[in-house]
Amino acid sequence: MELKLVWIIARRELRESLRNKWLWLFAIGFAVLALALSQAGLATAGYSGLGGFGRTAASLINVILLFAPLIGLSVGSNVLAADRERGTLLYLMAQPVSKSEIFWGKSLGAAMAVACALALGFGLAALGLASSRDGHADVYLMLVGFTLLLAFASLAIGFVIGARARKGATAMGMALLVWLVLVFGGDLGLLGVTVALRPSPDVLVAGLFANPLQVFKLGAIYGLRATLDTLGVAGQYAMYRFGAALPWVLAGLLVAWSVGGFGLAFAMFNRRGDA
């Protein structure tokens, strides 16, 4: 695999992904919400200083849980499927480049596009916070880091969808379905199981670790509070079980989701007998 070719394709994919209207729709929505949240406290005389940054960041977690997977999944699913549908993937593969160079170039480009969109949203929100003399840069950047990991994990899942789908619309539909499952289905299932079976904290934590969104949430809250006590007994168990290594475990899980997702997508893309 020639890295120079990967980079050439990545730059092209970055440009193509940034032309994806879904990406910008979600990115602008995220930026507006993040900016609004950063300013929302100011509307309530005095109280913003109390809840202040922690509250803003906590609200951001909610927004991120909706938007970051949506951005990752929609972009990821579109990259291969839409190119395949348009015939551009075939044309690219007819050039003297390998499948792996194409795949990883596209992955890198899409990841850069997602990072770019999220950096814009977070950057605007940070400007808002800075203008209101609020926030802790280290905590905020940790939140950004976990968000990027979540978006990359979602992107990887999107690539799995895109590696399988023949049409862009099909891929997008599947991506939205997966998003619904991750955002709502998984949590509602966990809620139902918890109410019905009252699982022990270790089982509950394992259930959380199975969902990259929950992994992100744990990491983001830990970044804010340096503890997960706010999440009750399961959070306390996670703290007890993993101690100071917890943020690394959480980040590692998200990285594993990304690596696993991209790996699976590549295997599917590479194994596919046609373009």
Partner: protein, 789 residues
């Protein structure tokens, strides 16, 4: 009287008066100050070198002034003296016992830096121990001590203005208490700063006042037990595990405290167990796990008045155990607590009074502007209800699913739980925060830098997506006009149709491909030599495109395909480097023609200097700066050909490149390809059109249902593939019937259509014969059209 006598008289009077005054003062002295206050000085240069020496010489009421320097403990103040440090002298006990111990009523220690206590918790090793009534420890700095200040059986003791921290190397449970106060009624603890210690413990002491202290980063900021008539006011309790926890105490007043960031496992800002007659007023409780926790409080017939407090941004504003009844909540502001009120174990809060509080999640209105909402506030969230019953569900906080549940509950009242509480007269404005609670503004610099970093990332991405630089190449580089050099490795040579020996550029041997159960290619074998042009002929579905894809290595296949010596299956990338590929239609991105060329040139590692002459040759120079989508179909295909020629590949693989072009453009394109053929390119192209094949091909590979049926010359193909045609003839009206008759008699079924023409059907190779025959019989044909059938 002489002047001298008058002076003597005055002097004598003055002396007597002075003596009288002295006598009077001497007589009065015991009434104003007893005994005489001596000031003993301790300094490294004397007169006293140690505190202990000075204490040995001191008497009750003396002041021992200790100048700056390092002194050693232990110091036991067993006289009613004031030990006063000037310039922060230090007292270090070398990690043994208690550093300073006050055992005499009225003793005072102030102004010292105290450190190095022992570390035995069961012996209460402390920085300062007040062990007698009316003792005072004030304005000292204590650090590296196990316990800070231990007040043991010292009624009316005063602990004021001290800064206390514990042993930094110990974890929270091993540290000592910042202040430990036992059996010391009426003690006053005020204006101290206590940080990084374990607890402040106040037990078995009535009438204690805790005012104006700051307690940070401890376990229990204050733990009261069996302390009646306590007053806790104007303290700042920050970032401890628990704030102020009160047990088994009556008549407790807590007002105007700021309690923020209590985040331990329980994390109560104010907790009460079995306490009654409690006044909780004007406190600001922010960002704690729980603002107020009531467990069996008030008990018996007591009261718990919770009034004018602010509970903001806590996980839970107020937590009640089901046994807590009779609480009165009035005028409080419940601001954005994740859960405003929790009743652990489930149930309703109706056993307590909720009246006139502000609720940030109140959805009512105030039409008459009296500051009171016109609708009652009800707390009835589904998820809160669930968490109250199953606390482990708290792990789902901040999940969008929770919002979805609440939204569903608001839309479908049938799944809404019973209201947890009702406030009949909710306030519509929150309380104005007291000054002490308002956070000091930050400088925003860090976030500004973070914003800069993040927006720089965005800008960098913006730079990366700029199209490749449109380098104007002035290098005159003409396309080769002679046959190209071909890679030597593994290339076969063969003599074909009388032409001199040429290298085999493309060898396809028994290539087969299946899609599911369908054979798309079956044992196709052929070869193409350098400079040869081969046409793939066949109807749709014959397998032409699959064969092209196989040659490019884009699909799996059985058999063998060698491109310029490269096995496609093993080294597809290298094989594709030898091929310029033009599909039927290409969708490009929206870059300019030139930028697109630069992208593919980079991909094919072609010299960018080739771009300008290629664009010129393809007639695209004047379109170089146009966006590709703005080009016509013909120009796009020219661009595809230009891209295919980047890197000067010896083989061109064309998959019906002219299928979508109109006649004029097709002719121009054919001319381009003819030129390339003359340049010596090996060309394999798929086509339906005889004229293309006749103009370009040396040989024709006839594919049918994936099988190579025949290999023909273009002329032979014309004969084989000509088929039937429909000829439409324009004949004068009076001769039309004659024409139909003659044509039918001549074996070409004919009829007149409704538009005044004659239509005849015949084999394609009979067209000229038919026209000659009509002319020979005097039938005038003014025009005709031919369509393939």
């Amino acid at each position: 009287m002489s002047t001298a006598a008058r002076v003597r008289l005055i002097a004598r009077f003055g002396m007597v008066a002075g003596m009288a005054l002295c006598l009077l003062l001497t007589l009065c002295q015991p009434l104003t100050a007893s005994p005489v206050q001596n000031r003993l000085i301790v300094s490294p240069s004397g007169p006293y070198m140690t505190v202990q020496d000075a204490l040995a010489q001191a008497h009750d009421g003396d002041v021992i002034e200790v100048r700056a320097g390092a002194y050693h403990g232990p110091v036991v103040i067993d006289k009613a003296v004031t030990l006063e440090g000037i310039g922060w002298p230090s007292l270090d006990n070398g990690e043994k016992g208690t550093v300073v111990r006050l055992t005499k009523s009225g003793a005072v220690v102030r102004g010292f830096e105290i450190m190095g206590s022992g570390v035995e918790p069961d012996q209460d090793h402390a920085g300062i121990t007040l062990a007698a009534a009316h003792t005072t420890a004030e304005n000292n700095r204590l650090h590296d001590v196990l316990f800070g200040i231990f007040v043991a059986e010292a009624p009316d003791a005063v602990v004021r203005g001290n800064d206390v921290s514990s042993k930094p190397e110990y974890d929270m449970g091993r540290k000592g208490d910042g202040i430990r106060l036992w059996y010391s009624p009426r003690a006053i603890i005020e204006n101290n700063v206590i940080h990084d210690t374990r607890d402040v413990v106040i037990w078995y002491s009535n009438g204690v006042q805790v005012i104006g202290n700051t307690i940070e980063r401890g376990r229990y900021a204050i733990h009261f037990m069996f302390c009646n008539d306590a007053l806790v006011a104007h303290n700042r309790i920050l970032d401890n595990s628990v704030g102020i926890y009160t047990m088994y105490s009556d008549r407790v007043v807590m007002n105007d405290n700021l309690i923020r960031g209590q985040r331990g496992p329980s994390g109560y800002a104010l907790g009460f167990k079995d306490t009654k007659d409690v006044e909780i007023t004007g406190n600001v409780l922010v960002d704690n796990r729980a603002g107020i926790f009531l467990d069996n409080t008030p008990y018996a017939d007591g009261f718990a008045r919770v009034q004018d407090n602010v509970m903001a941004f806590n996980d839970v504003g107020v937590t009640l155990l089901t046994d807590s009844k009779g609480g009165q909540f009035k005028g409080n502001s419940f601001w954005e607590n994740t859960e405003q009120v929790s009743i652990q174990g489930g149930g309703q809060g109706g056993a307590n009074q909720w009246q006139g509080n502000y609720w940030s999640d109140y959805n009512g209105f105030d039409t008459n502007g009296d500051g009171v909402g016109d609708l009652p506030y009800t707390s009835e969230r589904v998820f809160e209800n669930l968490v109250d019953r199953v606390p482990s569900l708290r792990v789902l906080l901040y999940s969008p699913a929770v919002q979805a549940i609440e939204f569903a509950a608001s839309s479908f009242p049938v799944i809404r739980p019973l209201p947890k509480l009702t406030d009949a007269a909710p306030l519509v404005q929150p309380a104005i925060l007291p000054d002490y609670a308002v956070a000091s503004p930050g400088n925003g610099l860090g976030m500004g830098l973070a914003a800069l970093v993040l927006l720089t990332i965005t800008a960098l991405c913006g730079i990366l997506i700029l199209p490749p630089a449109s380098k104007k190449s002035n290098i005159a580089m003409n396309m080769p006009q002679k046959p190209l050099h071909v890679a030597d490795g593994g290339v076969v040579t063969e003599s074909i149709k009388g032409k001199p020996d040429r290298k085999v550029m493309l060898l396809v041997s028994n290539a087969s491909k299946r899609y599911g159960k369908a054979d798309v290619l079956r044992d196709v074998s052929f070869q193409a030599c350098a400079g040869e042009a081969l046409a793939l002929w066949g109807p749709n579905g014959a397998g032409k495109t699959t064969l092209v894809k196989s040659i490019l290595g884009l699909v799996d296949y059985r058999g063998e395909i060698i491109v310029a010596g490269c096995d496609v299956r093993r080294n597809g990338k290298q094989a594709r480097r030898m091929i310029g590929y033009v599909p039927q239609e290409v969708n490009y991105n929206d870059w300019s023609v030139q930028a697109t060329m630069h992208f593919y040139a980079a991909l094919k590692k072609a010299n960018p200097a080739q771009i300008t002459p290629l664009l010129e040759r393809m007639g695209l120079t004047q379109h170089a700066r146009k966006a590709v989508p703005a080009l016509s179909g013909g120009l796009k295909q020219r661009l595809a050909l230009a891209i295919a020629l980047l890197g000067d590949p010896p083989i061109l693989l064309l998959d019906e490149p002219m299928a979508n072009l109109d006649t004029q453009v097709r002719a121009e394109y054919r001319a381009l390809l003819s030129g390339l053929r003359r340049d010596g390119k090996t060309i394999l192209f798929a086509s339906h059109r005889l004229e293309e094949i006749e103009m370009l091909a040396d040989r024709v590979l006839m594919l049918e249902q994936g099988v190579l049926k025949a290999e023909l010359t273009p002329e032979a193909l014309r004969i084989t593939a000509a088929g039937q045609v429909k000829m439409t003839l324009w004949v004068p009206e009076k001769q039309r019937a004659q024409a139909v008759t003659w044509l039918s008699d001549a074996g070409s079924p004919a009829h007149m259509n409704g538009r005044g023409t004659v239509v005849a059907h015949m084999p394609a190779d009979q067209k000229a014969r038919v026209l000659r025959g009509l002319s020979g019989h005097g039938i005038e044909v003014t025009d005709f059209e031919i369509d393939t059938e």
